[in-house]
Symmetry: C2
């Protein structure tokens, strides 16, 4: 069995309050994190909520990054979903911990999209000849 | 302890091949899934890869939905991240299973962003007065 996607969940507690408010600054930080990871950015969408809070996604050739901030709790939840084996998740994580001045960062690594190599080969041949 | 985010991972195996190729059709399907869930759509970003494959995100007032397709494996990976208690994940899941004609759909439910209610109340008061 192999998996098609790596799922990395980053919960950043005790962040700098001001950093969680500014969508434009955060947009730049998330794109920089994607580039540090070794990803190719192909799209993005960021949104600022009233009275506060930012949500955003960065689409990459290798899947996506997502972020949601709760300034009232000094908290940010960040997700990486990536395919391939060349992504440097740790480098992007270290950058984001510094970027948000997170005093209590947590990271967990998961896999999804499991498929037997034989099944994948068979389907690939059936579909694309 | 309470959690700020629900994380729903949907792996759709044995989908209709043609459905996984068309970014514009998929964009409409993902937005419809968000609305069926009870979410408010505030942004989106979809991208078609060469020679095939679609990646997309739908930003919602309650966080986001993301999708990645592997037409060569007849596979789609979909993620819901939502806050609040009113989201109907099951309704959106049922719609997407039908939409992609997935013969082998899998869904798992997770929580993230854990915080003690007392801590959250304290931080909220410190930050916003």
């Amino acid at each position: 069995m192999h998996s098609l996607l790596d799922l990395v969940l980053i919960d950043l507690y005790d962040c700098d309050h001001g950093r969680l408010l500014d969508a434009e600054l955060i947009r730049g930080g998330m794109i920089q994190a994607a580039e540090l990871m070794g990803a190719e950015v192909v799209g993005e969408s960021f949104y600022t909520f009233e009275p506060w809070g930012v949500s955003g996604t960065v689409t990459i050739a290798e899947s996506h990054l997502a972020l949601h901030t709760w300034p009232e709790y000094n908290f940010a939840a960040i997700t990486f979903e990536t395919c391939g084996t060349r992504m440097n998740h740790r480098k992007a994580f270290d950058f984001l911990v510094d970027f948000f001045c997170a005093k209590n960062p947590q990271i967990t690594f998961h896999k999804r999209g499991f498929m037997s190599t034989a099944d994948a080969d068979l389907k690939y041949k059936q579909d694309v000849g």
